[in-house]
């Protein structure tokens, strides 16, 4: 009896060690980042005693503040729009068969598999041409900036939102909407009182995903942003190239904190609403 138990001890120990290593691998850099963001030394990786100077600098640096504000505005706007469009795409694909819906379906997921750099180049090319046309045909002078950044964030977020919403819709029988209409609900009322409440966890999940993606994006944003429309991640990326200051530690910690809050919020929402069978 005792022999198998002993045999099992080896693998068990290994698994434990493995888990520890993995977590160490994940969290050691985070711990270091947080630690050094409080370090009173001009070199990024040297401990020089505790200070809040970098956070103070973060608060006082206009460039950082500007980038943060751009990031937040882009994130909120692109999330709102992509949630509406993504949810509508999900509804039409899941509930209606129309000519070409298969192709539309496949094309919708393209932005997820296309590498960021490719997407970025495509966007850059597109906006350059588009702005030229706008200038040539309508005489509207526009440069790359806030609008182009927001548009490109919407472009890649829609796919993610619609995937999350569709997963939720697929688990929800179309009978329910028919039942609502049979009970004198108009199409809008059926959507408002039956479909929407049931897909809300998916919509909120999709929104948080879109928010996170927008706040995180560097590659695409860098290609399509212009002066005055630098987002926080792009700004940090730029800082690194110019020579690192521990300020980026503080900025990174703040970005990390925002991401963690969003992830936790999304988990809480899914937990709270996801318990209901669809």
């Amino acid at each position: 009896m005792s022999r198998p138990a002993q045999l099992r001890r080896g693998p068990k120990w290994l698994l434990g060690a493995n888990a520890t290593l993995v977590y160490l691998f994940f969290y050691a850099p985070i711990a270091l980042l947080v630690l050094y963001s409080f370090s009173d030394d001009n070199l990024v990786g040297r401990w020089g005693g505790f200070t809040l100077d970098w956070y103070r600098a973060f608060g006082q640096n206009d460039e950082v503040q500007g980038a943060l504000s751009v990031s937040i505005r882009v994130a909120i706007l692109s999330t709102l729009i992509s949630v509406v469009l993504g949810t509508m795409a999900a509804l039409s694909l899941e509930r209606y068969r129309f000519r070409g819906s298969r192709i539309f379906d496949a094309l919708l997921y393209l932005p997820i598999i296309v590498p960021d750099v490719t997407m970025a180049v495509m966007m850059l090319l597109f906006f350059t041409q588009f702005l030229n046309v706008l200038d040539a045909v309508f005489g509207i002078q526009m440069t790359k900036g806030f609008t182009t950044v927001t548009l490109s964030h919407i472009a890649f977020s829609i796919s993610f939102v619609s995937i999350v919403v569709r997963a939720r819709l697929a688990g929800m029988s179309a009978d329910l909407e028919e039942a609502a209409q049979d009970l004198y609900a108009s199409r809008w009322q059926a959507f408002r009182f039956v479909t929407l409440p049931l897909i809300t966890p998916g919509v909120v999940g999709g929104a948080l995903l879109a928010l996170t993606l927008s706040l995180d994006d560097v590659v695409i944003t860098q290609f399509v942003s212009g002066p005055g429309s630098t987002t926080l991640p792009v700004y940090v990326f730029g800082l690194i190239r110019r020579g690192v200051s521990p300020l980026i530690n503080a900025v990174s910690v703040i970005m990390l904190a925002i991401s963690i809050v969003l992830v936790v919020a999304s988990l809480v929402v899914q937990r709270a609403r996801g318990g209901e069978p669809a």
Partner: protein, 358 residues
Amino acid sequence: MADAVAAVEIRGVTKRFDEVVAVDDVDLTIADGEFFAMLGPSGCGKTTTLRMIAGLEFPTQGSLRIFGEEVGTLPPNKRPVNTVFQNYALFPHMTVLDNVSFGLRMSGVNKTEARQRAGEMIELVQLDGMAARKPNQLSGGQQQRVALARALVNKPKVLLLDEPLGALDLKLRQEMQTELKSLQRELGVSFVFVTHDQEEALTMSDRIAVMDQGKLLQVGSAEDLYARPASRFVADFIGQTNLIEATVADNNTIVLQNGQRLRAPSPHAAGTAVAMSLRPETIQVGARGSVPAVHEATSLEGVISSASYLGHSMVYEVSIDWIDLEVRTPMVLSEERFAPGSEVAVWWDRRSDWLVAE
């Protein structure tokens, strides 16, 4: 008005889904207050017909009236009918009370009154005390009742039920059959009830429609369908029967495939190919030569090929040259029993056979 206006009147309705003809040129009239069943094998178009009455599907062709009003392409929320869906389709995020009051709220009844009426309906279907529960906290039978209450609270002129008892176990199903029937009588609403359980259809309904492959084959009372089927399909589908192929010789005689002549009055012209439907329980079996003289012209000779004892009856397979007949005789102790291999004669009363030409 000489004729009462029909609850549902379907004229020449066809429904096509691309290539599939789900419902094929159906004519059907359902009377006010009638318990009407639709019966047929899987895929014959029962659900599609029901969905067209509900407005969840629009006919490709034909006319559909509800209490005289043409509803062809009227959306479901504009029709005075409600549906009990096969899987109930209760709203999972709402309580029983909210589910039941949904229809009233959507048709503009204020919240207080809607809740009060919903409460009364919940009591009527014996779900008192469960109003605050969510559907997933109810048993299958209770969910069934919620679905029923949710539809009936709107006082529909026609209630459509798509295999409403299909998901329940046998005992609960029988209970619900009785309840549904008495509820229908009490409310006087037309019920259109889809099922593929023929016993359910036969016991509950005033009239039954039998469908096959999108076509409506026959409409009639349980007795009409059982004793006077209009086609081979209906004869075979409703209950069990023996179908014997024959040709009409004259208006009183048919000729079997082996040339034997049997007495069978027939409205069909001489030469028509027909099938004689003989219910197993209407056939008698006895020793050769024991056929009563009055049944001489409605008898055949054969050999018992199998005999099984079912407690209340004996079931024999009698093989007659080219066909096998199933015979079901009640167990009467004094009566003779036959072992396989016995040479026997079978006969029947001349009123118990029935000829079908289709």
